[in-house]
Each structure stands twice: as structure tokens, then as C-alpha cells.
């Protein structure tokens, strides 16, 4: 086989190798942020099942929580404005609500909003986050007055 053919084979093999590497990187790039899900598809079911539009503004005014209050535990009385959401709860220095509680992890749970709905999400804590009496395993909606228990502390959304 001629020198030139071998050279071309060598170069084209290196090209294939690099095309593979670059395609893999481009797949990673397009995967970086996932796909944005249209709002309608996500909350569609819920929005359709809701109350008719005219009734909504007053209910929102009445029902929108404005702050998070610690109702029980060593930090009882502490409150954080929901405008600072997402709110990190834990024992660490970066937590918005720093709980002085042996059963609380450094970064224990987080409270965040999606539209009008508030969620509490456990951040892989050791002793868990409870909504009512149920230990949560995924982001869970909370409404006004829902008791969120973290260690010996209980938190609520308030108006």
C-alpha cells in the first residue's frame, strides 16, 4: 500500500476520533440546561382545575404568605421575609434561618416559590423534614399554616 494512502488513513482516523470527542462535547453543551418546559404543560392540569379567574385576585390577596415564622423550638419567634426566597434553613453559616438544634443538618431544607405556590424541599438532611407527620422525599407544596417540622423546630408560612 502506498505511503500516501497510509498517511490519509492515519489522518482520517485522527479526524474521526476528534469528531467523536467534539460531538460528545456538543451533546454535553446542549444538555447543560435541560429543556425548558412550557408553563402550560407543567402546571396545566392544576391551572385548569382551579377556581375561575375573577375569584382569584381576592383569594391571592388573602392567601399570599409574606413571611416564614418559627413557631416552636429554640429559635421560636424568628421570622424571614419571603421576598428573600429561596430561603435556606439549617445549622450552617449560610442559612437564612439558622437553627440552633442538634437534629438539624448544616443545610437542611429550602423553601422556594414557583409562581404562587410555595415548596419545601429537603436537601438530603440526616433527620429529615416533615410536613405534618409525613417525612418528605421530594419538593412538597406548603400553604398558609402548614406545619413544617425540622428537628425540634416547627416553621409555618404566615401572612
Amino acid at each position: 500500500m502506498s505511503e500516501l494512502t497510509l498517511f490519509l488513513i492515519r489522518i482520517s482516523y485522527l479526524a474521526i476520533l476528534w469528531i467523536f470527542v467534539l460531538s460528545a462535547i456538543s451533546v454535553i453543551r446542549s444538555d447543560m440546561f435541560g429543556a425548558r418546559v412550557p408553563e402550560a404543560a407543567r402546571g396545566g392540569g392544576r391551572a385548569a382545575g382551579r377556581t375561575p379567574k375573577p375569584a382569584k385576585p381576592p383569594s391571592r390577596r388573602r392567601g399570599t404568605p409574606t413571611h416564614l415564622l418559627v413557631t416552636e423550638g429554640s429559635n421560636a419567634g424568628e421570622r424571614v421575609d419571603l421576598a428573600n426566597a429561596p430561603i435556606l434553613i439549617g445549622r450552617g453559616a449560610d442559612a437564612a434561618i439558622r437553627l440552633d438544634d442538634d437534629y438539624v443538618s448544616t443545610r437542611h431544607a429550602r423553601i422556594a416559590a414557583s409562581g404562587e405556590t410555595w415548596f419545601v424541599e429537603d436537601l438530603g438532611s440526616t433527620n429529615g423534614t416533615y410536613v405534618g407527620t409525613v417525612r418528605i422525599t421530594q419538593p412538597t407544596t406548603i400553604t398558609l399554616g402548614t406545619q413544617v417540622r425540622i428537628g425540634k423546630t416547627i416553621l409555618e408560612l404566615r401572612k
Binding site: M1, T5, L6, F7, I9, R10, I11, Y13, L14, I16, L17, W18, I19, F20, V21, S23, A24, V27, I28, S30, D31, F33, G34, A35, R36, V37, E39, R42, R46, G49, R50, T51, A55, P58, S59, R62, G63, P86, L88, R91, G92, D94, S105, T106, R107, R110, A112, S114, T117, F119, E121, L123, G124, T126, V131, Q138, P139, T140, T141, L144
Partner: protein, 473 residues
């Protein structure tokens, strides 16, 4: 760290989900097959001056393996990461072709050895175990139950080669067991088990490790009862490896433990402590073991040991000659002489690639390893549970450390220690263990990328709204 850890969780709330990307995976797999089969064809043309007669059969077998893995992922882990499998398939295919090329060279030198044939068998077994792992392990969190069991199993596995009868010393390291016609390196499985142990233990005790304890010389030392069990486990496994004179694996386990401790506690102090321990250990080993001294000396002055002093630097120096001769784009398959390097098909396969495909290909290979590690860390970031996070980090850092130790050794960046190059090197135990690692990583990523299930108490929220409306009305 805290910010990065926080974003993915909120991302699922803020309105984007990961796509399945199985189509992208298939596309990359086709390219990966082109890398593997193309290399095989190029070897045939370069060495034997004809397209290999069994190209179709070989390519078909490789394609079948990869497609089976892909289809299984489609069914049991539809959200898994799309890049890992193709990258692994490409590396494995390239490795097979290079091993085949070295077989041909051995055949020409009248020392025939069918390493490539055996490696293909191992790869088949690896893919079978990959599929079994994906099918059997539907949720990676069940592994957390086996924290202590797997730690014990790892230590037993590491001890097996010391047993008379089945243990065997090959090339100075007592890390093999022989049962009937089969030989196996139990340490390769032990590293997976140790990752499970470390993550299971650290996820439970990381708060205690990070917060409780006394401050001593800039570092907060954790309490003995928190660190004790895991430290014992680690010292025992490290001690066994040092007794077996398996330097590469000791380095790997040391680094793995340090990385996981650092990630779990978020204390940079551990890296300082670990660095000091490493320096102390290396100095001690240098003065205690003569072979470590020789290794170190060969690294600094290879030519003092080339063609004289027992010719102990023959392997690394020949590897450097080869890579130098290969240059930027290599000699081309068949035009190099990679067989001059002893064990070119296992520890020194990167040197063979450097000689025949050049620096261009070596960089591509290292980038591919980088992609595997990047994907593993990405999985760790988006994973929702601490155990999965730690396990993905641990498995990813196994690849990172292993590639650094072996490629660094071959290119004389660091003293040479024997380890396999993941997926490229000839070696059944390592190949199978690495395929299982990839299966576990894919399982964690499937869990992590799957959109969160519908929120459980939606109905309660609607109920609340409804009552308020009635009140107003």
C-alpha cells in the same frame, strides 16, 4: 459549593427538566463504533496491507454489544446520561484495536498471544454485567443498606490474594487469585465496594464529622468515634495493599478516601492533612522499601538504568522513545514499533497509542476520560440525595485518579506505579469492574435527571383554594 449544590434542586422547581436524549446517545454510539471499528480496519490495512477478513464479524459483534447496552438503557434508565456509554464504548473499541495491533506484532515476532480475543470476551462479560447491574439495581439508594457489608467484603477480597493456594504473585505484586483456569484481580471489585462503604458512612456522619470535634493546628479534628470506623477500614485496606506491594492501588485508595472526605465535609483542611500524610507516607516508604527507592530514582534518572544497572528503566525509556518517535500525528498503525515496550497492552497502552497515533490521539483519549469524570461530577451535582452525590463523586474520582496515576507514570510526570488504564488496557477484572461502575453512574444519573414526580399534595392545595373562594362568595 453550597450555591452549586443548591441550583439544580431549584432548577427543577423553576421550570426545566432534563430531556431523555436517547437519540443523541444513539448518534454518539454510531460515531463511537466508527472509532472502534475504524481503528480495527486501520490496523489491518497498516499491518497486513489489507482490510481484515473478519471486519464484518468483529464490527457486528462490537455493534451488537453496544446496541444491547443502548436498548437496555432505553427501557430501564430512560433519563440516564447520554454521553457516558458512547465515550466508554469508544475507549473500549480503541483499546481492543490497539491490543489487536500488539498481538499482530507478537505474531510477527513468533510469540503469538491472542490478547485481543480474550479482551473481547472480557468486554462481552463486562456488557453483560453492565446490563445485569442496570436491571437489578433499580434505585441506587438500596446500596446504602450494604454500607458495612460491602466494606467487609472489600477487605476480604483484598485479603484473598494473600491466601496460599489461590493467591499468585505476578510481576512482583501479589494481587491475583487463580481459581481453576481463571485469574482475577479482586482489588478491582474492592474499589467499587469501598466507594459504596465510604459514601454510605460519610453521608450519615458528615455533619458530625464537619461540626463536632476539637481544633488542632488550623484543622478541626473530628471526634474519634465519628471518624474511627471509616479510618480503620481505610487503614486496613491500605495496609493490605502496601503489604502486597501494589503501589498504584494504594495511591488510588488514598486519594479516593481523601476526595470523598473532602466532598462530604466541605473542609479544605482535609486536603492539607491528606497532603501532609501523603508526604510523610511517601518519605517513609522511600526509606523503608528498596524498590520504592529504585522506582523514584528511575523516574529522576531513567538513563542511569537504561542498558545498565539491570536495565530496570527499559520499559519507561522505550515508552518515551516510542512517544517521541510518534510525535504529533503518530507513525500510523503498523509503522511504529510499540511492541518494544514490555506490557504495552496493559500498563503502557497509552505509550502504544502515542507512538502509532501521536499526541493528537493521546490528547483525545485524555479528553474522553475528562468527559467521563465531568459527567460523574455533573451527576453528583444534580443528584437529589447525599448518598448518590457521594457515590457519583467517588466513582468519578476513581477514573480521574487512575488515569492520572497511570498516564502520569507512562509519560514520566510522576514515578511509575502499575495500574490499568480504564477501558483501554488489557485486563479482564479491571474492564468488568469499570463497566459495572458505568452502570451504577448511569443508574444514579437516571434518578437524578428524571423529572420530579407530580407533587403529592396538589389536591390539598386546590382544596384550600376552593374553601377560600367559597368563604368570599
Amino acid at each position: 459549593m453550597s450555591q452549586t449544590a443548591a441550583t439544580p434542586g431549584s432548577s427543577s422547581l423553576m421550570g426545566f427538566v432534563h430531556r431523555r436524549r436517547r437519540g443523541a446517545e444513539l448518534f454518539l454510539l454510531v460515531l463511537a463504533l466508527a472509532v472502534g471499528i475504524g481503528a480495527y480496519a486501520a490496523v489491518g490495512i497498516g499491518v497486513q496491507e489489507k482490510v481484515p477478513a473478519d471486519l464484518l464479524g468483529y464490527g457486528g459483534w462490537l455493534a451488537a454489544l453496544v446496541i444491547v447496552a443502548h436498548v437496555v438503557i432505553r427501557f430501564v434508565a430512560p433519563y440516564a446520561d447520554p454521553v457516558l456509554l458512547p465515550v466508554v464504548a469508544a475507549l473500549n473499541g480503541l483499546g481492543l484495536a490497539v491490543i489487536h495491533r500488539l498481538d499482530l506484532a507478537k505474531e510477527a515476532a513468533d510469540k503469538p498471544h491472542a490478547f485481543a480475543q480474550q479482551q473481547l470476551t472480557w468486554m462481552t462479560l463486562g456488557v453483560v454485567l453492565f446490563v445485569v447491574t442496570l436491571l437489578a439495581l433499580r434505585d441506587h439508594r438500596v446500596l446504602q443498606r450494604f454500607t458495612y457489608t460491602s466494606g467487609l467484603a472489600a477487605i476480604v477480597l483484598l485479603l484473598l490474594p494473600m491466601l496460599p493456594g489461590i493467591g499468585r504473585t505476578i510481576n512482583g505484586a501479589r494481587i491475583w487469585i487463580h481459581v481453576g483456569p481463571f485469574s482475577f484481580q479482586p482489588g478491582e471489585v474492592a474499589k467499587v465496594l469501598l466507594v459504596v462503604t465510604f459514601s454510605g458512612y460519610l453521608v450519615l456522619h458528615r455533619d458530625a464529622l464537619a461540626l463536632a470535634g476539637r481544633r488542632f493546628l488550623f484543622v478541626d479534628l473530628p471526634r474519634g468515634r465519628d471518624l474511627g470506623p471509616i479510618l480503620v477500614m481505610w487503614v486496613v485496606s491500605l495496609g493490605i495493599l502496601v503489604r502486597q506491594q501494589d503501589l498504584g492501588s494504594s495511591l488510588l485508595f488514598f486519594g479516593l478516601f481523601l476526595v470523598m472526605l473532602y466532598v462530604a465535609t466541605e473542609r479544605p483542611g482535609w486536603l492539607v492533612v491528606g497532603g501532609l500524610l501523603f508526604a510523610a507516607g511517601a518519605t517513609l516508604a522511600y526509606y523503608l522499601f528498596s524498590h520504592v527507592q529504585v522506582r523514584f530514582d528511575i523516574w529522576l534518572h531513567p538513563f542511569d538504568y537504561y542498558n545498565k544497572n539491570g536495565d530496570q528503566a527499559f520499559q519507561p525509556v522505550e515508552a518515551q522513545f516510542g512517544m517521541g518517535w510518534g510525535g504529533l500525528i503518530g507513525r500510523g498503525f503498523g509503522d511504529g514499533d510499540p511492541n518494544r515496550v514490555p506490557f504495552a497492552e496493559s500498563d503502557f497502552i497509552v505509550a502504544a497509542i502515542g507512538e502509532e497515533l501521536g499526541l493528537t490521539a493521546v490528547i483525545a483519549v485524555i479528553l474522553l476520560y475528562g468527559l467521563i469524570v465531568e459527567r460523574a461530577l455533573r451527576i453528583a451535582l444534580i443528584c437529589r440525595d447525599g448518598f448518590g452525590k457521594l457515590m457519583a463523586t467517588g466513582l468519578g474520582s476513581i477514573f480521574a485518579l487512575q488515569v492520572f496515576v497511570v498516564v502520569g507514570g507512562v509519560t514520566s510526570l510522576i514515578p511509575l506505579t502499575g495500574l490499568t488504564t480504564p477501558f483501554l488496557s488489557y485486563g479482564g477484572s479491571s474492564l468488568i469492574a469499570n463497566w459495572v461502575i458505568v452502570a451504577i453512574l448511569l443508574r444514579i444519573s437516571d434518578q437524578a435527571r428524571r423529572p420530579a414526580p407530580q407533587l403529592s399534595d396538589d389536591t390539598a392545595a386546590i382544596g384550600d383554594d376552593a374553601t377560600q373562594v367559597v368563604k368570599l362568595g
